[in-house]
């Protein structure tokens, strides 16, 4: 079937099999391998993208269902000049280890902050529920999202569990 999908504001027309999932369309047909394919059962959330500004698990959508629709993936977060604050936050707060869950986490975090610029820690945890991280224990992911919220609001308020300047990746440790 011939489909045209707008991915990160660019139109792509391809002939695809009706059974092709959106995640495979993005990764294999378009070469956008930022979105990850983990469980294939809608459980892990590594494949989260936005379909018309709504976060969905792209292993739960057929490519043909995205025909004529808009999709945003992690590749669309940064501009050539600048990382998205969510990306900066994950780097600054060590919000990832292996990085497998990170694209999905960041797409959800971006959506959360667009809809709730000042989330509580509980709201962040709620938003990333249904997304599995085997490495971080989630603590630094939550800190990253809160850090990004502070950065975007221009505020310097403390992020719970992270004193200003403390724990940022690459920062020197105070010497005794």
């Amino acid at each position: 079937m011939k489909i045209t999908v707008t991915v990160n504001a660019a139109d792509y027309t391809r002939d695809v099999e009706p059974r092709l999932l959106l995640i495979h369309f993005l990764r294999d047909d378009l070469g956008l391998t930022g979105s990850h394919w983990g469980c294939d059962t809608s459980n892990c959330g590594a494949c989260v993208v936005w379909l018309n500004e709504t976060p969905v698990k792209s292993c739960t959508v057929l490519a043909v269902m995205a025909d004529g629709q808009r999709v945003n993936t992690v590749e669309g977060l940064a501009t050539p000049a600048r990382l998205d604050p969510v990306q900066e936050a994950f780097a600054a707060c060590h919000g990832l280890q292996c990085g497998f869950c990170t694209p999905g986490m960041m797409m959800t975090a971006r959506w959360l902050l667009d809809n709730n610029p000042d989330p509580t820690e509980a709201e962040v945890r709620e938003a990333i529920s249904g997304q599995v991280c085997r490495c971080t224990g989630y603590e630094n992911i939550v800190k990253s999202v809160l850090w990004a919220a502070r950065r975007e609001s221009g505020g310097a308020g403390a992020v719970p569990g992270l004193r200003p300047g403390e724990g940022l990746t690459g920062e020197g440790l105070p010497r005794a």
Binding site: H24, S42, S129
Partner: protein, 296 residues
């Protein structure tokens, strides 16, 4: 990556990626839907063997569907998710959990129903990313014991509207689910909508749900409703393979309700979500809590 080397079981696709399958090979393996060859708008297709109605796909795409060769996309109907008038509320089969949870009635009297609907929506294990696509019709038709729409529809005396080849019929939602993953659908029949009568929508409602982990699949779900004239309905789902509906002309005591439950000789599920004895005990306890809340 040493698959299994640490005793962990990695999903087979992660292992496949680590083993460096080439593109063609990955293409053949990459989808469980390897028998599906066609996708068609449901409005333009006549049902045939090998077809599956496609709601949100959260079940259809999550495991192999060996008998399915064609998916019929229900989105093509473009039904309004929720419509209401003084007689009641109609929820389209294609209404998503997110749409139902967000819905606010224009008839103030239906507010108790809207509140119960939102709680049931959140009782589906799965984050809002699943709620954004999973549908009311898909939940009823998948007919899992932990199907929260089954609980909602049964408690509200809902009627499911079914469209088959050349005939349409309605049946009480409480009778629709007949067992774990089983229902009254005939081959090719489509559930078009769920109808909820006004009389039950303004009733006082109460809801209790238990699972073994904070956002886990429901092991016991008890929902209750008490009408203006004190008619009381209590529905048990999740702990039993099919809904158990208890009806009383006047508010029962907990002992009366439990006696009515036992009289139906429900079978309690025994699986990873909870063992049968625990589920039976918790069902009784939650019935008591629901009745207490309805009376308060």
């Amino acid at each position: 990556m040493a698959a299994g080397g640490t005793g962990q079981v990695f999903p087979r696709n992660i292992v496949a990626a680590a083993w460096g399958h080439d593109h063609e090979r990955a293409g053949a393996d990459r989808v469980d839907l390897n028998t599906v060859t066609e996708f068609a708008p449901a409005t333009e297709a006549t049902w045939r063997d090998g077809d599956a109605w496609l709601g949100g796909g959260t079940f259809l795409f999550s495991q192999p569907q060996p008998g399915v060769t064609r998916l019929l996309d229900l989105a093509a109907f473009d039904w309004s998710p929720v419509t209401e008038d003084a007689d009641g509320v109609a929820i389209a089969a294609t209404c998503t959990f997110a749409e139902l949870a967000r819905w606010r009635p224009s008839h103030a009297a239906f507010a108790p129903f809207a509140a119960l609907a939102a709680r049931c929506c959140h009782a589906l294990l799965g984050s809002f990313k699943v709620h954004n696509v999973a549908t009311v019709g898909g939940n009823l038709c998948l007919s899992l014991p932990a199907g929260p729409v089954t609980a909602l529809a049964s408690t509200m005396d809902g009627v499911v509207l079914l469209r088959g080849r050349g005939e349409s019929r309605g049946m009480p939602a409480a009778d629709f689910v007949t067992g774990d993953g089983r229902n009254a659908l005939r081959p090719g029949e489509l559930l078009t909508r769920l109808w909820l009568p006004a009389a039950s929508l303004s009733a006082r409602t109460a809801f209790r749900q238990l699972s073994l982990s904070p956002a886990g699949r429901s092991a016991v779900l008890v929902a209750g409703r008490r009408d203006r004239f004190a008619d009381t309905v209590v529905t048990v789902t999740a702990s039993t393979p099919r809904p158990v509906c208890l009806r009383f002309p006047a508010p029962p005591t907990p002992a009366e309700a439990v006696a009515a439950l036992d009289a139906q000789r429900p079978e309690y599920l025994d699986d990873v979500h909870g063992n049968a004895a625990w589920r039976a005990a918790m069902t009784r306890r939650l019935i008591g809590e629901v009745l207490a809340e309805l009376a308060s």
